[in-house]
């Protein structure tokens, strides 16, 4: 009983329960063969691509901000790589570096505008989202005359960023796991993590406590835009081509993953492990439905339900965490 209640108080509890619930639902009503499902690459690939974006977006949300420009930064990253290293034939590392640098630049713009103005980051990043969509589209048409550009990556880049392990699992999964571990370490084990929580809790007090809130906010925006262009870069190397479209779906998918993962939209509460499981849950719903006898068109409905149920669970678990009083000896818990 004690163990259960201490598990439920964790910010990631709801995401794990959601995942278990979805799996149980698919097994009971969809007849999923769990062994075959676990071995499949499709949902893990989906989760990895989404997860690398969801992680920094989640950190931003813990810090009380949001970034929707990621929807444009994924195609921006892949087009930059393809145009420079494919169309212009420059070495692959030039295209990759430029893609990441573009992410840093857009992140800087988002971050600077957020800390310098009183405009909510949702609106600011909506502006950069639309502007970057336009930039990517016009750049690809003006420079290459095409909306799809091919690129041939050398072996080392393929191995690192674009190979299929065992023929089905994208190497980006490894990056996702590394980044999850890295972000979990930063958030839980370093003082930066404490600063992020404090900023999301109360920005004014955090600043008065000596936390460089502006620099930290800018850094988080740089992180999210760069992670998004990293995903785009990996996709270009994997598929040997880049498309101007795609990426818009990531906006809501990432937000849903993060929220299912137990992050409070208003900031100050959440965990990287939760974001991880939230992403896995999302991927299992979307991709797992192909392993069931359920018509795949219902998957969006399931996402909507999972989101609302998970949010409701998060609310009640958070209340549980707040009202928790440790047991002392044999004394009964008084609430």
């Amino acid at each position: 009983m004690d163990l259960i209640s201490s598990l439920l108080r964790r910010p990631d509890a709801a995401s794990v329960l959601s995942l278990v619930g979805v799996l149980a639902f698919y097994m009971l009503f969809g007849g999923v063969d769990l062994g075959r499902f676990a071995a499949a690459g499709s949902w893990v690939n989906f989760a990895a691509n989404l997860g690398i974006v969801a992680l920094p977006v989640g950190l931003l949300m813990i810090a009380g901000e949001i970034d929707i420009s990621i929807g444009a930064m994924i195609p921006a990253g892949s087009m930059t790589t393809a145009i420079l290293s494919g169309y212009y034939g420059l070495p692959i590392w030039v295209g990759m570096a430029a893609a990441l640098a573009l992410g840093v630049l857009v992140g800087l713009v988002n971050g600077l505008l957020t800390v310098r103005t009183t405009v909510p980051s949702l609106i600011i990043t909506l502006g950069t989202l639309v502007a970057m969509q336009g930039v990517v589209l016009s750049a690809s048409e003006l420079l290459t005359g095409n909306s799809s550009v091919g690129v041939k990556a050398p072996e080392w880049a393929k191995v690192l960023f674009g190979q299929l392990i065992g023929g089905s699992h994208q190497v980006i999964i490894v990056w996702w796991l590394i980044l999850t571990a890295f972000f979990a370490y930063v958030l839980q084990e370093t003082r930066f993590g404490n600063w992020i929580y404090a900023m999301g809790g109360d920005k004014e007090s955090a600043r008065n406590a000596g936390i460089p809130t502006q620099r930290l906010t800018i850094a988080l925006f740089v992180l999210s835009a760069t992670c998004a262009s990293f995903v785009g870069m990996c996709q270009a190397i994997l598929f040997n081509s880049a498309q101007v479209s795609g990426g818009m779906g990531f906006i809501f998918n990432a937000i849903v993953s993060v929220v299912v993962g137990g992050v409070l939209l208003t900031g100050g509460f959440g965990s990287v492990l939760g974001i991880f499981f939230g992403t896995v849950t999302f991927a299992v719903v979307i991709q797992g439905i192909y392993f069931t006898s359920i018509d795949r068109n219902w998957s969006n409905l399931i996402i909507g339900l999972v989101l609302l149920i998970a949010v409701a669970m998060n609310e009640s678990f958070r209340k549980l965490a707040l009202s928790y009083v440790p047991r002392k000896g044999n004394k009964a818990v008084n609430v």
């Binding site: 084990e189 370093t190 600063w195 936390i211 100050g268 707040l322 440790p326």
Partner: protein
Amino acid sequence: MSEKIPVLELQRVDKSFGPIEVLNEVSLKVNAGEVLCLLGDNGAGKSTLIKTLAGVHKPTRGKILMDGQEVAFAGPRDAAGRGIATVHQFGGTFPLMSIGRSFFVGVEPTKGWGPFKRFDRKKANEIAVKAVQDFGITRIDDGERLVGGLSGGERQSLAIARAVHFGARVLILDEPTAALGVKQASHVLRIVNETKRRGLAVIFITHQVMHAMAVGDHFAVLIRGAIAADFRKGEKTREEITDLMAGGETMAQLEANVEGNT
């Protein structure tokens, strides 16, 4: 006693926002090991005065002195750096953070080195729990509990313990007992006394005369931005203080007014 140099002193401080004058020639002093109670009705300028003391606002005219030296706070961080700590009505401002985490926001203890420098949460929890237990709040014994789960009195105590731990010399308590029940309030008052015993200068802002009289050494009544009365412990009765706060009208007059109007 009166020869002591006050830790913090205001000399004829005015503060106005545009044409609106909020503070008018406010002079105050508070010594180490003393509690100055600042009494005033809502809208008397208490919060502007607190913000001026805490470095959020700069005085329009007049001087702020610390240890007899004139100072100008560059901002709230500067004031905090000089040892002025403010604890607000609801205590901690990070309800969803654990006790250990919120205690050390901005000054986290670390272990390890270089890029592997880690936030030492075990140490943070231990120090935070010990600091608040030293003030007699033994119910708090787990640094992983969330601040928002503590009772109002416990939160105040935690915030005061934090300020003391980080070497505050002047503690500004903004209505610490306003939202509390009788029992919780007495906890907080006990902690105020303990803080005083440790040699801090305490500025206790309240509109509850009873609470002020329980801990105060020195009293100042603020009416419409000006100090209407300034006296020491035992110089005035509770009724006199209440009358002063009501703007100079006596309670009897007030009652007459109320009846006349209804």
